[in-house]
Symmetry: C2
Subunit: 420 residues, 2 copies
């Protein structure tokens, strides 16, 4: 592999932007066919992709990488079939480009429409999982965007083989294959150069740990959609149904603790504590969950450590939960406002007034009444697919689907109207 | 005036964020009443505001400021009445907060809505015009946002007097008056500190010359909506109606040359040149417009200078226009793609196919068929008011109204559904 210089990354981004202009002109039918062809190309190249993945795995093993990381990196025929199937699902999604979101005739007779167009060029910065190379490329291309993929060094052979298949499908569709650009120079200074190209790159989406996201956000001149962390709360109200609340707690904490939409803190109304907490304690301990709680909660818990301020701010991503008893809904809201990561908050209550107060008082990306925080996901919320989750309030907030890869612009049609 | 230290600006932003939480809770009715009260407070303080403005004008005169700048700075009873009237118009606009943009029941029975919420805290960075202090504050507050106003030093007394009136109305409505924070420390390092507060400020909107906008965009860690410039094009197609095209040209260039939505470049199809250009030449010269044209166009123009590459890239904001004859629509599109500032492009044509090709090939914020570029304005496009214009494709693109000061988030209601 020949190392690129910073000017190479600029040349690559320029080529991607030009190719993106071609993508933006494709009809919905043509884009769906292109994505089907990309899925077929992945299947046709299965042997080459798996061989490349074996090289990555061997190198990672040699470096003594842990089993969790090896598992994220590993491809096999089933996983590859899953990636191709995901591309076909994206192919079948409705195309957001061209959607008319406003249509209005002004008093002077001009017709004003707002119509979705692609963002342009999207840079994805991500870590180990090679499936992101195909998933992210598919979503960006479906929405008419060029995509610059900057994955991790541990997956470089897998990513290169996947990108080669996808680029062939682009060329066969008559689109310059720079529409999908895999950065092969993984030096940090080249990534920094990419993040400065605000005349060419319309959006950067980092996917990975908080360290990666902060690095990108701190060094980027291009716009960045940030997903810092998910400190998701469940508040069990005075008027909660105990069985429902318990199911939400167990699902939210235990069904996939490493997910950002898992629960990290349980808040319980003082009037519910004596009933709810012993049941919660038994259910969580039976599943190996450690509890860290305030003094009031600890009265009803068997083996909880005292909770510190850090516990309430923590995204454990593990079988640990912070617990606190609150005097009332308002104290629960104050707690959430103080510690929230603006990701997902849940209330368990049968009291419609308490539910509405909770929904209106909080401005997190996803606020739920009597539903599991684990539904805070693009697929579960009906977006069809998810390119990322935004925990900052600009452009997109919460799980992002295809629509978040477009922007509305104005189309005006008149009959010669003038203003003066 | 006591100079603030950088930590003061952080404390001010924190107070603004807390006050914004209160604003976000207000009903639409309460916000409308608040804006009416702000208008009344401005009227009640008219003498004080005009006296403060007189101090600014005297200081500016002493500094030898030009008449155009003095005019932008000047208030009088009529202008003040206009500002109060604008506030009442904003009061009467529909409230974007709470609007449901998606409402969907998933197969598992959870109901998923997307609902508009305020962005949070918006920093306005602007120059001379004191009316921006009231206009921008009104729009931000109407959409439930706190606002930090950093105006120019030349208007500091006017801005302080206007802010004092508006803050009184906030207090009387029971909202902490930090919801509207006027920065009184105008040192550049304090503005830089404000632009680093990405944990407190959700969006910065610079309004002013390109220099100010580039300065803000280059130094900000907070998200910035940028309006670099408006190099707006009129393309007169082979199938243009000559009278209509001429009216679009004269209105677009001459009705307010200093506006960003004025025309800067005229492109003419070769087949229309002999008919259209002599008429355009006469009409423009009669209005004092200088022409800079390519060799083909100059055949039909009386007194045009040769156009350079810089002319085609220029935002003149003056009675000057660049002219070029193109072979066909595709060459016009290529020219616009090369020189566009992504602001506003117009085609004059009676050919529906040419019109649709123009609309689909270009991704500028506003694309028009047979309508004057001067309609590229929030009020004219039906947004009710305009907080700014975005020429970059994230969050908002083109003229921005109240909706652009909000973001959609998810509200989910279930009956205890879990995912596992």
């Amino acid at each position: 592999m020949v190392a690129s210089s910073p000017s190479d990354i600029r040349a690559q981004a320029l080529a991607c932007r030009d190719a993106a202009q071609q993508l933006a002109q494709l009809s919905s039918t043509a884009k769906a066919a292109l994505l089907e062809a990309m899925a077929a190309a992945l299947e046709a190249d299965a042997d080459a992709i798996l061989a490349a993945n074996a090289r990555d795995l061997a190198a990672a093993s040699e470096k003594g990488v842990g089993t969790a990381m090896l598992d994220r990196l590993a491809l096999n025929p089933q996983r590859l079939a899953g990636i191709a199937a995901a591309l076909r699902e994206v192919a079948a999604l409705p195309d957001p480009v061209g959607t008319i979101t406003r249509d209005d005739v002004r008093p002077n007779g001009i017709r004003v429409q707002k119509v979705r167009v692609p963002l342009g060029v999207i840079a994805m910065i991500y870590e180990a999982r090679p499936n992101v190379t195909a998933d992210a490329a598919a979503l960006c291309i479906k929405a008419g965007n060029g995509v610059i993929l900057r994955g991790g060094s541990e997956a470089i052979h897998s990513n290169t083989a996947i990108a080669a298949a996808l680029k062939r499908a682009l060329r066969e569709a008559g689109v310059a294959d720079a529409a999908l650009t895999l950065v092969d120079d993984l030096r940090r200074e080249t990534m920094l150069e990419l993040l400065q190209l605000n005349d060419l790159v319309d959006l950067a989406i980092p996917r990975g740990g908080e360290g990666l996201i902060r690095f990108v956000a701190e060094h980027a001149r291009v716009p960045v959609i940030k997903h810092y962390k998910g400190v998701c709360h469940l508040y069990v109200d005075r008027a909660a149904d105990v069985e429902r609340a318990l199911a939400l707690l167990v699902d939210g904490k235990c069904s996939r603790p490493s997910a950002c939409n898992s629960l990290e803190t349980l808040l319980v109304h003082a009037d519910s504590a004596a009933t709810f907490l012993p049941l919660a304690d038994a259910a969580l301990r039976a599943r190996g969950v450690q509890l860290r709680a305030d003094d009031r909660a600890r009265q009803w818990l068997t083996d909880a450590q005292p909770a510190t301020d850090e516990d309430y701010a923590a995204e454990y991503l593990d079988l640990v939960i912070a617990v606190r008893v609150v005097d009332d809904l308002e104290q629960a809201l104050a707690h959430i406002q103080q510690y929230s990561s603006d990701h997902t908050e849940v209330i368990a209550t049968e009291d419609p007034q308490a539910a509405e107060r909770f929904v209106h008082a909080l401005r997190s990306a996803v606020v739920m009444v009597n539903a599991s925080s684990r539904f805070s996901d693009g697929g579960e919320l009906g977006l069809g697919a998810e390119i990322g989750i935004s925990t900052t309030r600009l452009h997109a907030y919460g799980p992002m689907g295809l629509e978040a890869l477009t922007v509305e612009r104005f189309v005006v049609r008149g009959e010669g109207q003038t203003r003066a």
